[in-house]
Symmetry: C4
Subunit: 304 residues, 4 copies
């Protein structure tokens, strides 16, 4: 039913990636640069990610023989060597997620360049290798971001929302595979009620949240899509939710035909399909370089 | 039980319209005129509407032999000719939804006139015909809007919330059929968690959201009402939700006695019922021309 | 289990009142005094209350032989004579709800006095009798309100939240019966997603919302409490919700031992229980006349 | 599966504490120091805590033979002697929760010191003994808080979120047992829709809310964790919710192996485990003394 579908390897019906954004206190320092040090309880909650949740998640993945993808800000690479080692030593992919979880579309081009390459250095220093992929913190992909991704030679981006299957993005100088996601597969929308971050949402039970994630998976399975989680260790790594994740994995396995893969493996597959003749959508970025002229906006947006 | 009910054609018990507002990036440009171009991820999410969701929805409607109504800002008519052609070629109705999704009750009368007729021109240019209906973007129907609707000779409006069955609105110079809806049938209230647009709502599973939409339908079926969706391709056109929509359509069909129709067809039916003697409610608009004098408002509204 | 319970008449286990606040556009004029006239769609939604929902609710109550209580701002008394007549002619109680739904704790004492007695006059003029009860719009009961209630000789107040059974409030010059409620029985918390009014809540299906209301009723039935709805015609008078209300009423009836009564009847019963020796809690209002001295508040409240 | 688990006494699988924060109107005075006295309805709702809910909760605990922990601001100790006596006389623990529910990380060090010791005095005066534990109001644990906890010789803190089992915190001069919790076990996230406090959340039925609390308990039972509620009498002490709490307690008892304990008992056990050789995590606080230098934050946080 979907137009111009992608063929997954080995006859798999769909692809699944449980990617985790391990942000730790970078969120606190970027949102409250002046008062972060005085928010001890929130810091303790965010540190729960690398210190408690990551070991639990890595163990769960190990028992189910999964290798997945972790997006980690450069600053966190430096702060949490034990969590990083756990992740890397179990064969998971570590990818680029800014240096301090910056909202890069609120920075100047030069500032964005600085944090982009500073983050890249941190990952190389910690893992000994250049990351292959990137996800823009807070989804704040700017009009300049594609340039840095191409310049750094990355293979894929996982920041955008433009499709349910992979496609290509480029700036005229090079292209990357885009591995899109949607807020429906972001755990903040089910589990996070944090006034400090402006998230005032009811907390769903793992059972109700899983209904949402599983409905997306069932559709991916029926239609041949990419199911791409944006989860966070301090959120979805809590024991009750981690157990629900395991049940979801077992459900997926029981349906059969599911390709569990790291995002770098998926990007490689997409390139090989293209080489074999598949013609994906290609988006030239940015869509616009400047504000659209002539918009009659009145008082504009919210509220009232 | 409802007072002064309308008779639906051919003994149908109720009328159903799955209308879609295909806004694409118009939302971004009107809400963030200065920074829209730097919000690439949000743009990609909104472009998902015309590029991915519309083909899926049109295909689903085709398989169920439905012709429905799409409200599309004029600017989107110009930007997405392929989606427009898909919609028009399958017999769906294209109706007026502003030029750039303007909140027209925040514009001057002259600005509103400008965008109203600019949008009208875009639709005529793209489809070769004048649209028959209008829905005010963001529900921001102003005290001037009825004048432009009458001046342009449109047949119906679908912006208001004053009843569960059609009624008439007018300005003393002419009338239109009002085909009302309610936020309960708007998919944003079930599925949208977008901080940028001020929507911080939990994302419901398709099953839970359908409970809400179906309860409204069941009541429409029992009471002879109009069930009028306000859905958005980038929201409800995602595969899992589109499949749930199909199940809802099948449920509606299985109950029997449901008139699935385009809004222009419903407006025509309303006029013929009136010609046959039915006396609908008539609302003279605007309800008021100026602020109510003498209100003692204190510090007024929210919060505290 | 509850301390110092009240005895309901005729061996009833609990008391139930489905009270409705019929606010119509008073909400719009008080919240947006300068722009209300330019918000036509919102006005149409609020007018749905007196024009569509009230007839449906009155009819449903008639078929179930219930007489209940409607709180109506004075301005609405003047604007909607047909709805008022429908309500009054079916034996329902009409009680005081401000003149224009003012947040009275944001007014001066003199302003509050003005709107209080203006509203009283409107009710007397429309119904020929002084109302017996009062509910503060938006729960904004001020430190002066009790004085006006006593001065006007009202019998009861239904604004406060201090108990699950009736109690007394007074100012040293006189007392009123307090018939308390809680936000859990307010339909806005289940059904209202209105950005204009600062309510950004998911819309529950009638079935899920009824779970909440019914759980409160079941507890009232077990513990001998007062179940006191704060519903709104334009919200809970929609067909699907009105039908769910009827099912809830039938459920309550099937449990047995439920006293469905108007609030004035409940207030009368409370006074007779007191005369017979029951000693209710008595709250002298206001709790404080001035700010508490010496509070070290720092930067105070939200966010961060 | 959890790393370095703690052994619970007598072969228990997990520990459970239903702690209640009895804040009464302290919330109103700290959030609205200038207008609290004019918010009578909100005051009545908050007074419901000590006046109606505490007797119900104490009775429910008595019937189930439970002794639990109440965190109470010093000002409330002075205002509600009857509720305090009820709590203390039934063997429950009363612990430190600020003086007026201050957000202490918005105060100066000297202001924090003042309110900390003022609150301590209130508890000593009311109960005749020094409290053994502390929970920071609103989770606003500051960079100075640990110093006062050590200086006052308290045994435990229950403000942080860093683990699912107890650990130690210290400042180099002394340590305390940390008994962590998570917002998932906070009743505000399920039941509170209060515009005044910035909580605009849907109100869950007791059944749905219990799904969330029970899922956390089931995980605690499977993994050997501490289940530590942060509930509020005026919220969870309403009859329908109190009954649901009882059902949850009965469910927990029926599973077996659950240690219901006061937090001071849990702290004592943790110390004895440490004496017996268990090596818990130790967090030196604060994590940072000053803002992190060099953060490139752009326009920082929300929205857009």
């Amino acid at each position: 039913m979907i137009e111009n579908p992608i063929k997954w390897p080995n006859g798999y019906r769909c692809a699944v990636n449980f990617s985790f954004d391990m942000d730790a206190e970078s969120l606190l320092h970027i949102y409250f640069p002046d008062t972060a040090h005085n928010r001890v309880a929130m810091a303790s909650r965010l540190r729960y990610g690398p210190e408690v949740a990551v070991p639990l998640i890595v163990d769960a993945f190990e028992r189910h023989d999964l290798r997945q993808t972790f997006f980690i800000p450069g600053w966190c690479m430096e702060q949490y060597p034990r969590a990083i080692a756990l992740i890397a030593d179990h064969g998971h992919e570590i990818a680029h997620h800014g240096y301090m979880h910056e909202k890069i579309n609120q920075l100047t081009r030069e500032e964005e360049r600085t944090v982009f390459f500073r983050a890249l250095d941190s990952i190389v220093k910690a893992t000994g290798r250049t990351p292959r992929g990137f996800r823009a913190p807070s989804g704040a992909f700017s009009r300049h971001t594609v340039d840095f991704l191409v310049e750094a030679g990355l293979d894929y981006d996982a920041s955008l929302d433009g499709h349910d299957i992979p496609y290509l993005i480029g700036n005229g100088q090079g292209t990357l595979v885009e591995l899109p996601h949607d807020a429906t597969m972001d755990d903040w929308t089910q589990y996070v009620c944090l006034r400090e971050f402006g998230y005032m949402l009811p907390i769903a039970s793992p059972e109700r949240a899983t209904e949402v994630f599983r409905a997306e998976f069932d559709a991916a399975w029926r239609h041949g899509l990419l199911w791409n989680a944006v989860w966070h260790p301090f959120v979805s790594g809590r024991a009750a939710r981690c157990d629900a994740m395991i049940e979801l994995i077992e459900y997926m396995k029981s349906k059969g035909g599911v390709w569990f893969a790291r995002l770098d493996e998926i990007a490689t597959h997409v390139r090989s399909e293209i080489a074999a003749g598949w013609k994906p959508r290609v988006d030239r970025l940015p869509y616009r370089d400047a504000p659209l002229p002539g918009v009659i906006a009145g008082n504009g947006v919210l509220p009232g």
